[in-house]
Symmetry: D2
């Protein structure tokens, strides 16, 4: 028994206790420490200056909510062993361990067909070796192979502790208080039926409110048109750099990032790949962008300057795709203004799509008064679920401000 | 020019400044001071123990939001004179001045056909005499007679500062954080077009979020089944007392309240009526209920004890009315348990109805990018408005717990 | 094992769980429900309008902090049984059960030599009978007779959970954010050495900060000159009423309160005394004050009106007593203004005294790195403790505003 | 008149309005945008993971408090022109514009005798050229040359809006709630007498509380022993790098930083110096540290790894300097453990010194009831000021954990 509490300060959830030694060991591992240098919300701080929080902090917050959820379920009579508790906490702590710098979108560029969940699993396995198999159950839970399904649902579903933490955290740091969901209440409504995660009947409005808050955060924050653009530009910049490199250009590039821009074959992650990847973070990408501001390639330097000095292109948004004529007009103006013939490289159409509640993919279940599992949308009390199940799409057109008079 | 700021501490909005002398004078008047002894949310503290806040504080909070709204509109180029500012603040400060003890529901019992808005107007006119006509414009605004309609809309509409304050305040004091709307953001989205209150186009999700939060507060808090019951019992108790009095019983009743329980004709509010009414507050009603716990009439004493000792009847809720058979069963059980023949007096069906966004009565207008006024539900961006425009009804059945085995 | 969590909403601490059945039973008892009608901070809401919170809510909050403290101590290796947990929570839940209406100051008037802690013990014993001795250990802890002293120190010391809750709660509801102490951090620093409550060495600044915050709350809030006056007037009014009654006047007085104003001998608390006392709450006192506004006695009616309409006397404050000459001057002006000969009844000198950290009475102990218990003021790291150990006195003089020109 | 409000989301102060065009222009300038990539609290996020906020956000927050202070003073009758308002806001917005990456401590290394305030002034002058002299008055205020001294005191004194913002902001992001000062209240107590900033008499406890909170933040956060170490290591690393370079080693160094590590003469800031400096930010330093992890020099690589993987040396703290014998012992253990002869390079003694209220350098003035200016410590009401005027020193010894068994 420790006579000293390991505690982490979290302005979002208050003091966070680390109840198992292994959690602390994993947290101290350099794989996990790397997440300190990875922003939770990419370039969002260009729009919401408070949003400088990291994936490191988010992972710890989600781990804390997992603990709270487990304590709640236990108080309702669900038996959960210490081993299960530890493993569920490990699994959520590590759920993003394979996340590359900035957004998901960069993964495809940096490690091609390596999705961050695949990388997370890869790194969990490496850690499992280091810790002599202590992560076995955690990995099973993460992969959805553990026999009690609700653990996986707490890790990854429409109502998992990952979402609960990131919504509340992003709301806190952006200052967009509408996303400040009541994680305590939602967790207090959780229950287990047939080994599946369910919500006590009377929690239906809290769930609807959670889904509505999440939708608001998407359209107001994550899919904010300038935020969408900034994320898009990151991809554009790295793609451009990769293309120039493939065409033989020499770009001044930080060592860590260079490895990924020059390497081609990632079918099998080699030891070197892993070693390089676990050293890669936001500062490498930012350094590259700072350096590339001075590159000769006009497209590359234009967008790098746009990010660094926050002279972002103009955006228009619409619920319909923009017409070819309209886009053509912009291209012509650009060609004319810059005296170039490849204006189309300066016009982008980004689209954003959201289904706030995807009932097909993974329904949310309520436990009704007869203690039967029913789908959220089938409750006689549901009010917003129908609307929330509808998809919405937005189109964002971006082009240089220089062509505005 | 004052060298001293008049400031009121408000845990909800922070420091509240009183920028006009007359506001302070009205605030100090005994009519307004009475609101200190009137709970903003009636007996809700029986369910949410923090909800002990008063109409006094709410009125001041709403006044503060009015000031913020006016400053915002000015910053957007809407010209508003100091006189208009003062009057709008006075009008909202006094909007509930005619509110009787506890809920609206008691008004009908205490002063028959006197709705609290009618009483508010009556008392505003009295104050206007006291303050030599300085409230003239405020009263015009309150009555919707002022030529610039947006002032009245700020005082009373689906998006008025009254609602903005009470939602945020009730959320704060109950601890139901889902209702913690972002009043700053909503107000910052306000604008004026054709002298009507509108919301800047890009504020649509904040408005939908506000409507959703309000709906949640209704079903989770105001229309909570036990809260609904508590409010219903107040009415039931006073009605029973009035009936017993009309049948000749002598009830031990506090002097202030007695006047209203014994008097019959309120067609015209006499000077005495007003004087008595402005002395009436929650403590009078609570005293009566405390005293009536010992009355011989079983119905009266039963419900008075229920309130004071919080031994509230059992409630069931449903989206359908309860069947006569089901109710009949309960009555029989009651008759049998208490050995009486009037069990029906112990069974009540309460119903609660809500249209979160009543677009017929008073639509919310957006100002679109072409600077045209459109209705919220006609925006291409609306997501929840359709759902929020639907009505929902709940039925609550209450009966003594004694008949549960 | 319950499959349903009993939860109470608390805007201060979030959701509060009730982990033992008996806690819930006690909470539902009418003795405890009475605290719903007793303001935690008396008439403070006349100055800080948000401060309408009740002793009921405070007691529940303190119970919650006790639970947190116990969990923390357990995590540090202190063994605490379920029975001890339950008892400590019961003891703090009931620590104010004997509190009369409004402030401590009224107790002396209403039940003479009955201090509220004596009454609390009396009522705990009554409850213990009702619950067949289940409160035995709780009562031992409350009385400081339990062999592990830290339980009593958690209930009543300079760093008990009572203070932790009321400071944070009063700060929350008044909006005086300076008192918003970090209860989580302070509790996380608690430890036990030789069965006494100690604070881990590195928590010293949190403790100094807590003492400084408490001092600020005293001078800014509890001992605010107008707040001091309001509390003083309550005593003055009841004393005046009692005196008039003893002189044979008939005062229109609510039944419950009357019992205490007319009765004389409280040496032994009779069953009737207890029954009457447990029915007495703030509404009885407020009703009396409302009624006495119209009494013939000028002193009584003057001060009753002062409270109800918040036309409070003028106050001056000083760190020295006011001179007899200065007071005499005021009396003369009063005699002249009101045309009376007993002006001295309208001038009051109130004094307020505070020792923020009373190291004589009950020192705070730190556990230093060598795991030795040392007194706060003996730590080499202490900075403010010396200043905080000094006493300060303030004198407040009050007199009618009418004599100001 | 704009029909659109420029608003910045701030989770600390809420919505921040930008009331003057020039403020927005300055904010958009690349000099100012650089501050987005400069952490407000250096490496503090290694200890408090939420503390990732930037100097960019702090500067905007301080600007907002300046606006609030000006509005408050105006409401108290102090005449302040629109030009003065604009200039005071510009001055505070730019007060840290010359801040280099990470802490003050790096400035000495990077630009030798260039203190960041000197650099700030230099950059302000550059901006003033760009904006055709619109910053003239702002620069006067910043330099303390403007005839109304209180403007400079609001920018730089023991009670300036800089401190008010950073304390509240750092408290918010670290989660150390004890530092959460009430900026609203403090500002509401500000006044001007003889063109100097004073505090209304009754604000004394708020000021004492502010000074106590600041002291707590210093010892708990800024001077936290691990935080102190981290900051120290940054200096140590850069000094080591510079030394190695001066000895002829070739270090792989990011281009931007290289300029400053290799250049020697900074007596006069050349155009190139300024251009390089305004491109330098935290990412350059972090990149260097990442790269240097692999350098051959053991001292350099050891500490770079310590920062990146957060394997920080052990620290001890004391209120006395550590004895030579004790330090010698550590050195020997290090020499033995690493098999080296320069163990002294791995032991560091850091010292931290604080005078919470420096009454000699710049006293805080109160305005007493006779409207005379008196020093805080001369008030009859002061309680903590004496303690707060005392200095405290702490010694921190750091050495590799490897020598602990």
């Amino acid at each position: 028994m420790l006579n000293k509490l390991k505690i982490i300060n979290d302005p979002v959830h208050g003091f966070i206790k680390i109840p198992h030694e292994i959690l602390f060991d994993v947290l101290e591992h350099r794989y996990f420490q790397r997440l300190r240098r990875t922003a939770q919300t990419g370039l969002l701080s260009l729009i919401f200056p408070g949003a400088t929080h990291t994936r490191f902090h988010h992972a710890i917050g989600a781990m804390h909510l997992m603990f709270t959820a487990i304590e709640t379920l236990r108080a309702k009579g669900v038996e959960i062993s210490k081993e299960e508790e530890k493993s569920a906490m490990l699994a959520i702590l590590l759920h993003d361990i394979g996340h590359g710098p900035f957004s998901h979108a960069l993964e495809a560029i940096l490690m091609e067909d390596w999705h961050h969940e695949k990388l997370s699993l890869l790194l969990m396995n490496k850690l499992n070796e280091t810790f002599s198999g202590e992560l076995d159950t955690a990995i099973e839970m993460f992969r959805g192979k553990y026999h009690r399904r609700f653990f996986n649902q707490l890790i990854s579903s429409q109502l998992d502790v990952d979402r609960l933490d990131y919504l509340k955290r992003d709301s806190f740091f952006t200052g967009v208080s509408e996303g400040n969901i009541n994680t305590q209440r939602i967790i207090s409504m959780m229950n287990v039926a047939d080994d599946e995660l369910v919500i006590d009947d009377k929690g239906i409005y809290s769930i609807e409110n959670f889904l509505a808050a999440r939708m608001l955060m998407y359209w107001q924050v994550y899919y904010h048109k300038t935020a969408s653009l900034a994320e898009f530009l990151l991809v554009k910049i790295l793609n451009r750099a990769k293309q120039l490199i493939s065409e033989g250009y020499e770009l001044d590039t930080p060592k860590n990032l260079k490895y990924f821009l020059y390497k081609k074959n990632f079918k099998q992650a080699s030891e070197e790949d892993i070693s390089k990847f676990t050293a890669l973070d936001d500062t490498d990408v930012l350094q590259a962008i700072k350096l590339w501001q001075d590159e000769a390639d006009m497209v590359l330097s234009y967008y790098c300057k746009a990010i660094i000095t926050r002279k972002l292109p103009k955006t228009l948004s619409s619920s319909e795709p923009f017409s070819e004529a309209f886009i053509g007009e912009k291209i012509e103006l650009i060609n004319h203004h810059f005296g170039i013939g490849y204006g189309e490289l300066f016009v982008d159409e980004i689209y954003r799509h959201l289904t706030p509640y995807d009932r097909e993919k993974q329904p949310i279940y309520l436990l009704n008064r007869e203690r039967k599992k029913i789908r959220l949308e089938d409750s006689e009390h549901q009010i917003l679920s129908d609307s929330l199940a509808k998809s919405t799409t937005k189109y964002i057109l971006s082009f240089p401000r220089e062509i505005l008079k």
